[in-house]
């Protein structure tokens, strides 16, 4: 079924009886050309682009829960392309371009809103660094502008510009950045993949990966064994357990990151604001809630909930940035399981096992990467070659020293 404004109106007039399910609920077949482990944003996008760009439709996405039940439904929905180092910058640039055409592409309203994102700076050194970053982004063909304090005051009058600890010196604005409806991204890709013949199999947990003589043969699942010549591990925070089924150790440690949302308010902020010194970022959802988050809790965890010290830290950071937030009531908070790599950058690569691929290590930045991650992973699985914009996301880069350390803080598990 094709969605359109006209369809919404006609269905509204006739009791909404004509809507059908957005995707099928097939039973798993005995064999596929390719299997994707993980029905989250990255897995579903990979399935979609395998079918759309490479004509590979005899594939299955295996999801242990329901589609989109992991980090795609637990993030702060920010979409941006303000990366600096080669290897990252072209990848996120590609992703943002895919975002801009995503709703037309999928015929699905993902509520992508290019409301802009500003990264604040608080010292002369930070200003220099942001100007350098902005120049690099502009030279690449993307957009960035440096805003003075006066310009910021006009647009964001509610920030505390003269706070004693981190007075605001200015900010780097990317107008094409913004937010999107996170679940809808998973649903849109799921529907698009299903329409092209991909089997989306829910409640199907992979319990083993069959490897013979260094070649992948298929997987064992709670719904029986399934054979395939190509298997992709796209399991985000659970990547370590999935890789262990293939006898692999990978450079990933899973950490919690917490996020928060307030009760719905009238429109108060129309852009995303990032306050790096407080490890704090905030935007307002279309429903009115202020959505904000902080840094990871900084210890390995799968609990999907954090501890109170970080809650306190995030609230304090919010108060120092925009004191008016103290009037809002927090509606809920939650934690996601972040697949942290030592250098803070992701992995899209083959593994030493033939036919087995991995897409993991998205740290706390996986949401904006979903379209390009799917695009590049599909390219890798279909052609056997890394896509040009993802060629540095190597699994072995920590051993070889080809790090992608965007923050410039080093390559150790507790640094990002």
């Amino acid at each position: 079924m094709r969605y359109s404004g006209l369809k919404v109106i006609t269905e509204g007039l006739f009791g909404n009886k004509g809507w059908t399910r957005a995707w099928r609920d097939p039973a798993p077949k005995a064999e596929y050309d390719a299997i994707i482990i993980g029905g989250g944003g990255h897995g579903l996008a990979t399935a979609y682009y395998l079918a759309k760009n490479h004509g590979l439709t005899n594939i299955a996405v295996l999801e242990k829960g329901y589609l989109g039940s992991g980090n795609i439904g637990r993030n702060t929905t920010i979409v941006r392309a303000n990366y600096f180092i080669p290897g990252n910058s072209e990848f996120y640039s590609h992703s943002l371009k895919l975002w801009e055409g995503l709703e037309t592409e999928l015929n699905y309203n993902v509520m992508h809103s290019q409301r802009g994102q500003v990264v604040l700076f608080h010292s002369d050194g930070q200003r220099d660094q942001q100007i350098r970053r902005a120049n690099a982004i502009v030279n690449q063909g993307d957009d960035a502008e440096i805003m003075s304090v006066e310009q910021l005051r006009a647009e964001f009058p509610y920030l505390d510009y003269e706070q004693t600890r981190f007075p605001i010196y200015g900010g780097m604005m990317q107008r094409r950045a913004g937010t999107a409806r996170h679940d809808a991204v998973a649903w849109g890709y799921a529907r698009g993949a299903d329409q092209r013949g991909v089997d989306l199999i829910q409640n199907c947990e992979v319990t083993g990966i069959d490897v013979e003589n260094g070649v992948v043969r298929g997987v064992q699942t709670t719904r029986g064994p399934i054979r395939a010549k190509k298997v992709a591990m796209i399991a985000a925070g659970r990547s370590g357990q999935v890789a262990a089924m293939a006898g692999m150790r990978i450079p990933v440690e899973s950490h919690i990151m917490q996020a928060f949302v307030t009760e719905g308010l009238k429109p108060v902020m129309d852009a995303v604001i990032s306050y790096g010194m407080g490890h704090f970022y905030i935007s307002q959802s279309d429903k009115g809630g202020l959505v904000f988050g902080g840094d990871i809790d900084m210890y390995a965890s799968y609990a999907a909930r954090g501890n109170l010290p970080m809650v306190e830290h995030v609230m304090e950071a919010g108060m120092t940035l925009m004191p008016m937030i103290g009037r809002a009531k927090v509606l809920r908070s939650w934690g996601g399981i972040m697949d942290m790599t030592p250098d803070g950058s992701p992995i899209i690569d083959k593994t030493p096992i033939e036919g087995l691929f991995i897409d993991a290590g998205w740290n706390y930045g996986g949401f904006k990467a979903v379209p390009a991650s799917g695009w590049c992973m599909a390219h890798l699985m279909a052609t056997g070659q890394s896509h040009e914009v993802a060629r540095r996301f190597r699994l072995d880069r920590f051993r070889t020293g080809h790090l992608l350390d965007e923050e410039g803080t080093g390559s150790q598990h507790n640094l990002h």
Binding site: R238, Q241, R249, E253, P309, F398, R399, S411, N414
Partner: protein
């Protein structure tokens, strides 16, 4: 979350700095191959369940602790000083 320091008793998580997995205790010999260093520094079992990791009692006694805990419930199962372990270096 509270960790029990063998010297200081039960203390708030904020007194401790998290270093990472116990892999850091298995330092390769200087002539080891790069793969051994990659194993220690980067590759992880990353278990969902009981894990052992290193915490530094930064605002307490300054001990390095080996903490046995659950990554799924945040329960602390045991703590010991790295220095008290058999065969620990000076």
């Amino acid at each position: 979350m509270r960790l029990t320091c063998p010297l200081c008793g039960p203390r708030d998580r904020r007194e401790f700095y998290y270093s990472g997995s116990e892999d850091y205790l298995n330092r390769p010999t200087p002539d080891a191959r790069p793969e051994a260093w990659d194993d220690m520094l980067h590759l992880r079992d990353n278990p969902a369940g009981v894990t052992k990791d290193l915490w530094y009692h930064e605002t307490g006694c300054g001990s390095w602790l080996l903490v046995t805990r659950s990554t799924t419930t945040h329960e602390i199962l045991a703590t010991e000083r790295v220095a008290d372990r058999k065969g620990a270096g000076a």
